[in-house]
């Protein structure tokens, strides 16, 4: 096992399958894509089983100096492992969910498989430029997926997606060039331990922030997301929400925090402010949507805001919470998009008012939809609860105000999700065509059931998912401890504080 380049193989399998899909016709392409993604899932399970929890920080290391200036360096820690698992788990589901794609199937499957290669590459890259190449390259297949197989307004959405994310990323490249020139290495683990001067950290942090904030997305640069989600085909939305958004969070956790701890602390107020606005504002926007996909897209922005506050809480709870929210959101929002896709395939509309009373004619569908709705809200027992609770517990140690505002967002989240569920599944069957829709077929069961199982697993026993990441989060926490912002809620029980406590609060917020 030690010498088997499993990460390269995991990237190679979908790549070869993508080429094969271009050469064969529709039916064969579907089969090739499904088989390739299942092989990758199996390899992913193998990866997880062989991952030594508590062992070396970086495992499955590969390094081939193939290129000038950077090398083919791969390796994972627990954080990357979990995100790779998320990617390989969602991919076969995406392929299965694409049954309604009729035109240019071979190219479609090729684009998705290429996407899988690049996603694994992003999470496994150990060379900063290799990371950048993988990170940027993902734009091409996604642009094609939205533009070719998307909805009516797909061209606008594809441009917006591409140009928004591109302009965010290019400045990051300049920052990376500067860092490599300064530190003299392109190796990410080395760079994570390199101490840049605090005053340059500010600029570098901002350059990285430009990229990750767009990718995440954070308010106010989130506007590409609703367009892209609404116009993308179902599987495209699943990948976009499930994995691509996580690249932003992964970027923060892999680059911004460990490489620029001082700047991260310096700008924590900015992240908090934007996240607070995002939680409240996008939740309110979600509340008034008539388009199901748009509603879920806005809810994604709100959930990602919970991720960012958890990340910048500078404590293990917050970081672990942020990671679990990312994983959970990847599953849940993906599942919700699949739920929309199921009824969209039947009625070809995403308008909420066209449905109603689906729990009568589609009871199993309503059950799954209910589960994912509850997970999105964060009901205890589902994956959503674990992550949100940890994140908010983490941020509460730093700032009770931020915690208060963001918790309000959770309540709003419950409001819009329950409102959506009521309108779609409960009430009268006011539309005859919606009332005549058949329940889930076998293929759709295969889409829903695995995700539902994992959502419950993560909700009931999150330790399986937290254990591989714990050591890495501890390392990260130790790394950023020196810049930890002062908390406004020091729980020093018993000792009465002097009267200047309010001043202290303002101080804590300002950092």
């Amino acid at each position: 096992m030690a010498d088997f380049p499993i990460l390269s193989v995991m990237m190679l399998v979908p790549l070869l399958a993508a080429v094969a899909c271009l050469l064969v016709e529709a039916k064969a392409a579907r089969q090739i894509a499904l088989v390739a993604t299942l092989i990758d899932l199996a390899l992913g399970v193998l990866l997880w089983v062989n991952y030594d929890i508590g062992g070396a920080q970086w495992q499955f290391h590969e390094n081939v100096p193939l290129f000038a200036g950077f090398s083919w360096a791969l390796g994972i820690d627990g954080i990357a492992l979990m995100l790779i698992m998320l990617s390989v788990f969602l991919m076969p589901i995406c392929i299965l969910a694409s049954a309604s794609i009729e035109k240019r199937v071979g190219e479609y499957m090729a684009a998705f498989l290429l996407m899988e290669t690049l996603m694994i590459g992003v999470f496994a890259a150990q060379d900063i430029f290799l990371f950048y190449i993988m990170f940027e390259a993902g734009l091409i297949p996604m642009y094609l997926i939205i533009g070719i197989w998307g909805g009516a307004d797909r061209i606008y959405a594809s441009y917006k997606f591409f140009l928004y994310t591109l302009i965010g990323s290019v400045l990051m490249l300049i920052a990376m060039l500067w860092m490599v020139n300064e530190a003299g290495t392109t190796d990410i683990p080395t760079l994570m331990e390199y101490n840049f001067a605090p005053e340059v950290q500010t600029w570098l942090w901002l350059a990285f922030f430009a990229s990750f904030a767009v990718k995440m997305p954070m308010w106010p640069v989130h506007t590409w997301l609703p367009d892209a989600h609404v116009q993308a085909p179902t599987a495209g939305s699943v990948i976009l929400a499930g994995v691509l958004l996580k690249m932003g969070g992964y970027g923060f956790i892999r680059f911004s925090l460990p490489m620029f701890p001082e700047a991260s602390a310096q700008f924590a107020w900015l992240v908090f402010a934007l996240s607070m606005v995002a939680v409240i504002y996008t939740s309110l926007v979600a509340l008034v949507q008539n388009d199901m996909k748009k509603l879920i897209a806005y809810s994604s922005v709100a959930h990602m805001a919970i991720v960012t506050i958890g990340l910048f809480a500078f404590n293990p709870q917050g970081l672990e919470g942020a990671m679990v929210v990312m994983l959970s959101h990847g599953l849940v929002s993906g599942a919700l998009f699949l739920c929309v896709g199921v009824i969209y395939d039947r009625l070809h509309t995403r308008e909420i008012d066209r449905y109603g009373g689906l729990s009568i004619n589609m009871p199993y569908y309503a059950l799954f939809f209910m589960l994912f709705t509850m997970a999105s809200i964060g009901l205890p027992g589902t994956s959503g609860f674990v992550g949100e609770f940890l994140s908010l517990a983490g941020i509460y140690q730093v700032s009770s105000w931020v915690a208060l505002v963001c918790t309000t967002g959770i309540i709003l989240g419950a409001a819009y999700m329950l409102y959506l569920y009521r309108r779609v599944c409960f009430g009268e069957q006011k539309n005859a065509d919606a009332a005549a829709m058949p329940d889930l077929n076998r293929r759709e069961w295969w889409l829903m059931a695995p995700i539902a199982a994992v959502v419950l697993w993560m909700g009931v026993y999150p330790e399986s998912f937290l254990a591989p990441m714990r050591a890495d989060i501890a390392v990260l926490d130790a790394r950023i401890a020196r810049a930890k912002p002062e908390s406004d809620a020091q729980l020093t029980a018993g000792k009465p504080k002097p009267a200047n406590a309010t001043e202290h609060t303002a101080h804590g917020e300002a950092h």
Partner: protein, 487 residues
């Protein structure tokens, strides 16, 4: 003067001139398409032989006095060899694509290949120059051949117009350059680059600055950098497409290499004087090249603006004024040559059912449905020109920006790369038209196998496989660039 050594060093150029003369004579006696084809292929053979003679200079990193010929009027350095090999490759590519194009129009004549050969000779002199006179002779030899080539379809109004425009504006630029040369000579007292560098040190007089500015203005015209770019779209559009392929690649390489030589060798002690000019030209070219392209509906015009845009990125490498910057430029030039040849060959391959060329953007709508491979190659070239990884075009931008950052030009790099996003917009537009729009079913004609092979070669070179070349390419470019910085 050691004649043996001189003739040995200049052997490729002597081969080109003798072959050119012989083939010109031979042309006078053959007046058929078949004869023209034979002459074209003979020219390609001559170019390949010349390339084989030049290659060793690059491999052994030729530099110093051993490379000087004819009393130091000519140098066969590694830098010159790198540029010459690119020029020869580009010229050979534009020769092999020509027969299929011209034959259909009944306009294939023997002189095409001969003119290209003379242009190559001129360009080789340009990049081998060690003084302003060799520079000027090379430049004019190239330009005169190019003017005729632009007007090669003499029954076609657009071609004639392109030739005339190119000639008038090109002469003006040559005049500006010559004026700059005369001023520089007047103030430096010599035309040799070494002598100029020695004479112009420290604070220089206003007259010498004028000379420098005029020399750079003349060169900026030849590389079509903003604000001297106006001729490019018209000439590229009007010229026959094989000729445009040639213009966008070989002379561009030669003129850029020449600019580097003049900037680093002749004015190497006046970096502070020319750096602002280069920085302005770089940023202006990136922005104007990108904005100008947005409204274009003709593919050749679009690619013309794209070449202006790319010159801007290349100049960012020169603005660094370091060996890394020049090496980055050379790497970029090599990749740019592959992209641009691929782009124009793809345009050559677009034909309607009757075999007439299709050049408008609207006509390639939905190309991905009926010409899958061609559309995929063109899309790759577009993404590559936009500098999106994992395509190889990204690497070109990467190395020049890396050099800029290493040289401390961080703001230049940041502004330049942010402006590259504007360019991405119109490259995406081409992809959008080919992939997202409903098929117009215009470009349905079959293409020549030679074009297919060349496009395939370019597509492979700019695909992610190209990254495997980064090491050898980087080493060669570093050797070549290092030659210029030997004091």
């Amino acid at each position: 003067m050691d004649f043996v050594q001189s003739f040995r060093l200049a052997a490729p150029e002597i081969l080109f001139s003798l072959s050119g003369l012989i083939l010109l004579l031979a042309s006078a006696w053959t007046r058929s398409d078949r004869g023209a084809r034979v002459i074209t292929w003979l020219t390609v053979v001559v170019l390949v032989i010349g390339g084989a003679m030049i290659a060793p200079a690059l491999a052994n990193g030729a530099s110093g006095p051993d490379t000087l010929a004819f009393s130091a009027l000519f140098t066969a350095s590694a830098f010159a060899a790198f540029a010459k090999l690119l020029i020869i490759a580009a010229a050979a590519a534009s020769l092999v694509v020509a027969p299929a194009y011209f034959q259909r129009l009944g306009a294939y004549r023997n002189e095409y290949a001969v003119l290209v050969l003379f242009a190559v000779l001129g360009m080789c002199l340009m990049v081998s120059s060690t003084n302003l006179l060799t520079l000027y002779i090379g430049l004019e030899l190239n330009s005169l051949a190019a003017y005729v080539l632009a007007a090669f379809l003499r029954n076609d109004d657009r071609s004639a117009e392109a030739g005339l425009k190119y000639f008038v504006l090109g002469s003006l630029a040559s005049g500006i350059l010559l004026f700059g040369i005369s001023l520089t000579y007047g103030f430096a007292g010599t035309i040799g680059y070494d002598g100029i560098a020695a004479a112009l040190t420290g604070k220089i007089s206003t007259g010498a600055v004028f000379g420098l500015v005029f020399v750079f203005a003349g060169l900026a015209f030849k590389i079509s950098a903003v604000p001297f770019h106006m001729w490019t779209p018209d000439v590229y559009e009007g010229s026959p497409t094989p000729v445009t392929t040639f213009f966008a690649s070989a002379p561009k390489v030669a003129a850029l290499a020449l600019t580097v030589i003049v900037a680093i060798e002749a004015f190497g002690n006046q970096i502070a004087a020319w750096q602002p000019i280069v920085i302005f030209a770089a940023l202006a070219s990136i922005v104007i090249g990108a904005l100008g392209a947005i409204g274009q509906t003709n593919l050749k015009r679009l690619l013309a603006y794209s070449s202006i845009n790319n010159v801007g990125f290349l100049l960012i490498g020169l603005a660094a004024a370091t060996p890394q910057g020049v090496a980055g430029m050379l790497v970029y030039l090599a990749i740019y040559t592959a992209m641009t040849i691929g782009g124009f060959v793809a345009v050559l391959m677009l034909k309607d059912a009757d075999g007439n060329p299709v050049e408008s953007l609207a006509d390639i709508a939905g190309l991905s449905r009926h010409r899958k491979v061609l559309a995929a190659c063109l899309a790759m070239i577009m993404f590559s020109l936009a500098g999106i990884p994992p395509l190889f075009g990204f690497w070109g931008k990467f190395v020049v920006f890396q050099a800029a950052v290493e040289a401390g030009n961080i703001w230049l790099a940041a502004i330049g790369i942010a402006a590259s996003v504007i360019g991405a917009f119109y490259y995406l537009k081409v992809v959008k038209v080919m992939y997202f729009d409903e098929p117009a079913m215009k470009a349905v004609g079959q293409s020549d196998w030679m074009h297919q092979a060349l496009l395939g070669l370019c597509a492979v070179a700019i695909s992610p496989l190209g990254y495997l070349l980064t090491k050898p390419l980087g080493e060669m470019a570093a050797t070549a660039a290092g030659v210029l910085f030997i004091p």
